[in-house]
């Protein structure tokens, strides 16, 4: 039977999914909503839509599994590509695909991984069992102030006086309570914050258990990109650095590789990157991980590594790793293609020794219409002109059309475009990045004049790769 893939997402990732399917020679169906029909992914699909061969399917919302399954059944798709966001980390949906009477292949890890690695508590438990360093703190949810005091005392003695209390069922930066300069002998404030956090957790997540961790204030956020096939072979595509984020913890600039080996960080960057890869691969192998995934790490100023979490999906910034890596000498890997290919049962066909980055570097900029000075406030309006230069060392991923005005939809992720720049060295990549951003033109109309984060991105370029 010929494979047919349903693209269950929107925007640039849907577009990338469509392109990957075309590259693999697969038939596809994209979903779109009425309000999103001007988006490029919808337009691409609609243009190729023809009677007897449905390519575009209208839904009322992107995150209703019932509608998506209805679309898959009606169009005869046997696999679903989730991308990132939306339903990509919903293990119940993935299990439903696998277990229903007409099974559908999820282009994602099988559901057990999504469930087990989706829970931070469980990930931590697994990691500790394998001897992988995790953020110091409680390993199981705490519900009792007496227990909390014990943990805090231990943490303060061993790691320092800053403490973070968070809901064990939480996520997305909600329900975090920071406690700085905790005095081991007077824990009155702890009781106060603990109860606050507990009532927040109870009200928002229906689970009043909490996690207590050491709070790191100066650190770098690095990632290891991994791909496994369904036959048990796993390779990695090196490291990334995603430290530059907005105050809402949304990434703005991503770099690959994670560190510049020429800079003196106060620790050996080569060793840290190697260590992160080693740990990630160990965990992936032990679990038998079978799709694309990202292991996120925290690196302290002293070069200590701690596992943050595992993302069991493709990430926005996957291309920074893909562009600089070569497989069997061919530079540039499309990780989405690899992901779809392996999920449909193909083997990877290469080993870790065939993958190399060869000193190349790449940068991803996320272009948004936001006011950086006003706490990254979102701009609303219509984009009337959106031009960017064409270079062979740059790729632009966007769902914003450049031939007609586009009204920014506020319901979804506000990113307008992802720009990936690559070069043979870090310096070259930086220089190309600056050149590219200078040539980007965005014009728009709205109640307020258009503001973008282009200047902000440019201002960060000289300091990239610094700790």
């Amino acid at each position: 039977m010929k494979n047919k893939v349903l693209i269950a997402n929107r925007g640039e990732i849907a577009l990338r999914g469509i392109n990957a399917c075309k590259e693999l020679g697969l038939d596809y169906v994209a979903i779109y909503t009425q309000q999103d029909s001007e988006s490029l992914h919808a337009r691409t699909a609609l243009e190729e839509d023809m009677p007897g061969r449905k390519r575009a399917w209208r839904v009322s919302k992107y995150d209703d599994p019932n509608e998506i399954l209805e679309a898959a059944d009606a169009t005869g798709c046997n696999a679903i590509f989730f991308g990132y966001g939306m339903l990509s980390e919903n293990w119940r949906v993935i299990r439903r695909l696998q277990k229903r009477s007409r099974p559908i292949i999820p282009i994602a890890p099988t559901w057990e991984y999504v469930r087990d690695l989706g829970s931070k508590v469980n990930t931590k438990k697994v990691a500790r069992r394998l001897g992988i360093p995790t953020i110091p703190g409680s390993t199981s949810p705490v519900r009792d102030i007496i227990e909390a005091e014990e943990i805090v005392k231990r943490l303060v003695r061993k790691h320092g006086p800053d403490i973070l209390i968070k809901a064990s069922a939480g996520g997305g930066g909600r329900g975090l309570y920071e406690l700085r300069n905790v005095d081991e002998r007077s824990l009155d404030e702890l009781a106060l914050r603990f109860n606050e956090a507990r009532s927040y957790a109870r009200n928002h997540f229906h689970d009043d258990t909490l996690l207590i961790e050491h709070l790191f204030s100066d650190f770098n956020h690095i990632e290891v990109q991994i791909i496994g096939d369904r036959k048990g072979r796993i390779v990695n595509f090196g490291t990334r650095n995603c430290t530059i984020q907005s105050p809402q913890r949304q990434k703005r600039i991503e770099l690959a590789p994670a560190f510049d080996t020429r800079i003196d960080y106060g620790f050996d960057p080569k060793k840290v990157m190697k260590e992160a890869i080693r740990h990630s691969m160990k965990m992936a192998y032990k679990l038998g991980y079978n799709s694309a995934g990202t292991w996120e790490w925290l690196v302290t100023k002293k070069g200590e590594l701690y596992l943050l979490e595992v993302n069991t999906r493709i990430q926005v910034e996957n291309d920074v790793s893909g562009r600089i890596s070569s497989v069997k000498g061919r530079i540039g890997t499309n990780l989405i293609v690899e992901m779809i290919r392996t999920a449909l049962g193909e083997e990877l066909g290469y080993k870790q020794k065939h993958v190399s980055t060869g000193g190349r570097a790449s940068i991803e900029f996320r272009i948004l219409a936001e006011d950086v000075d006003k706490d990254f406030e979102q701009w609303a309006g219509t984009i009337t002109r959106f031009d960017f230069p064409k270079h062979e060392w740059a790729a632009v991923y966007t769902h914003v059309p450049n031939d007609r005005p586009y009204k920014i939809i506020t319901d979804y992720d506000p990113t307008l475009a992802l720009v990936v720049i690559w070069g043979d060295s870090i310096d070259q990549a930086k220089e190309r990045g600056k050149r590219f951003l200078d040539e980007v033109v965005i014009e728009g109309e709205g109640s307020k004049p258009l503001v973008t984060n282009l200047d902000y991105l440019k201002s960060r370029i000289p300091n990239l790769w610094e700790f």
Binding site: D64, P65, N66, R92, R95, R96, K99, R100, S101, S140, P141, V142, R143, D144, I146, E147, H206, T209
Partner: protein, 749 residues
Amino acid sequence: MRAEKFDELRRRFNYLCDIKGDDLPAYLENLKGAFFSLESGWESLRGADLDSQLGNLESKVSEAEKIMSEEPRTPMEIVRISRHPDRISLHDILTFCYDSFEVISGEDLKDPDPAVVVARAIIQRRKGRSLLGDRVMVIGHESGHGQDERSGGAANQFGNQKIAHFIRRAEREQTPVHLWASTPGTKALEEYPGAAQSISRAIRVATSARIPIVVVNYGQGGSGGFEAAGVGNIRLMTSHAWYSAISPEGAAAIEALQLPPEERTDDKIKELIEQCAANLRITARDCLRFGIIDGIIEEPPLGARSGDIEFFRRARYDVIKATDEIVLRARSERKLRNYLRKQGSFEETDGKFYVYVPWELSRKELEKVVRDRRDKERRLSKGFYLDRRSESDLTRQRRTDRIMRLKNAVRKGVFKPTRRIIIAAGDIGDAISARAGDPYLSSTIISVPRRFGMREDIRSSIQKLEEKYPVDESYVSPLAKIDKSVKCPKREEKGCLDVWAPDLYNEFAGICPNCGYHFEMEWQYLLAKWFNKGSVHEFNDGIIETNVVGFPGVNERLERARRKSGKNSSVLTFEAKLYGIKLIGAMLIGDFWGGSVGIGGSEKICLAIERAMKNKMPFLFISHKTVGIRTQESAVGLQAMEQVSSVLEEYMEKGGLPVSIFAGTTYAGPYASFLSMPNNIYALPSIKVGFAGPDVIYRTTRIRVSPNYHDVEEAKQRGHITGLWRRDMVRPNLYRILVFGEGKNLYYM
């Protein structure tokens, strides 16, 4: 003068017609004609003719009365007599049965509930030459000969609360209570204090009041309303009163639902009402036969009316005798009692008793009065069920009981005293080392061993407990095995997505992940997911429910229920373990005849509570679903409620910890008695709880209630329910309740 006489005759005639209902016999039809012709020719007739005509009519009416007096009363005629405005009222009773009285509540029609009247009264008895008086508290339903405000004696929630309040007051004053009950039912309003809750409280108070209580049913014994004033040491009934869990009309409406819609005609319904009245066995003779009442006070053949002095004399004599009997039983003056009974010396001649029994009782004797009342309630179910319990079941019960008792003895006799000594020794140590007074510093000299501190279970997190005592993960609801999407009923207003059944009925525990709506689930799921794996043991399954009053069709329906649920009763009693705590529970299961509780089921609950009481264990009610009392069991079914309430009250008095959890629709009888008695009442969201449905409320009060009137969320706002628990959070929540509720009379482990 003549007109008055005519009216008088017509009143007598109308009374006869009212008894007969719509279908009048020939002699009454004829009389109707005679009345009509006399009335139409009234103007044309002269004095003497009129007199002779009137005399003629009078003799005819007397003859009709005589005929009717001689024929036996059918059950439906008794119902009509009891509802008649001419029927004796409480005021008549107070006037004629007692020597003097003072109404303390309910006389004013603007009272919160004029349907319940409370009076202090004095009964005088002649002993030799002296006149001796005793005070009693008279509480009763007052119909006021058809006064609208009193709505025929249908009490509202305040009226039932009044009953409870004044029984307690009588207890404090040590005055015997005479409950004169006659009510068509209670007004099923849910507003605070709540119909069901006030009835439940009245029953609870009556089962525990340390005072003799005599109950007289002098008219209508309608279901829940009657129960509120129906618990006593001795229950009497006048011969033209009835007693049932449901009125014949209500029963007929239920039976009519079994018929195909085209057959539900008015005539058919009328016929069904007559049939139900007979089949429900509601008359005094039937009740006596079933052992529900202790005696009958004879009425005139056409029913007692205000002027029947002879009846009041008899009633007065019977209530005095009943009170004496209670007092003598408590005094254990068995010899005297037997002697008197043999001699027939209670018989009153010339207004004199041969023996005067003073009604004051000592504290110890009052305890006996309560014991007597409870034993009497407990005996009621005997013979109404089949006991086919297997030997292995009984052996198992005996074995676990023995182990529990041994453990309790060790805890009480060894553990607790040792603990006290060690802690005291520690205190002395602290005092010596001058560290006493600081609760955070432990003594360095003698420290309390860990075993004697607060139990580990209480301190440790639920997570750890869950690892130590897992639930049965292998149980999967049959609902979760179907590949389909389920629509949430609240999707319109809350925007819920359809949920896949295997997700919904397994990990989501039947709860809509978006809005928290609780879908119905089967009872096996609750047992599997609320208690430790393998710890649930059912017992007393061999108690089999039967057709107690011989209502037609009940045997077949019982058989159907047995086949559907695989159980012998709608009540399932079990022992189970919740983390470290052993408990005993009773669950009303909806698969068996809608979870309706009959006398067999109540016997099972009583046995279970008694086990919990003996073994000092917490007791748990789970209402998976219940529609109420099994109405086909009539008055016997009502006893089931009283019986369980009485045992439960004793358990609570001894320091037991009962908890009620409503996991599904919970209505009527059980809700208005034992399920509402515990102090800890919890419910799952999005179920319905209430005393009676919207139709009944409309019929009794003419109030149209909103569709969400019976939502459990509303019940919580009205204060009837302590809290709402999600289905998947019952386990930890219940555990906390049990841990915090551990008193000196409950030993867990």
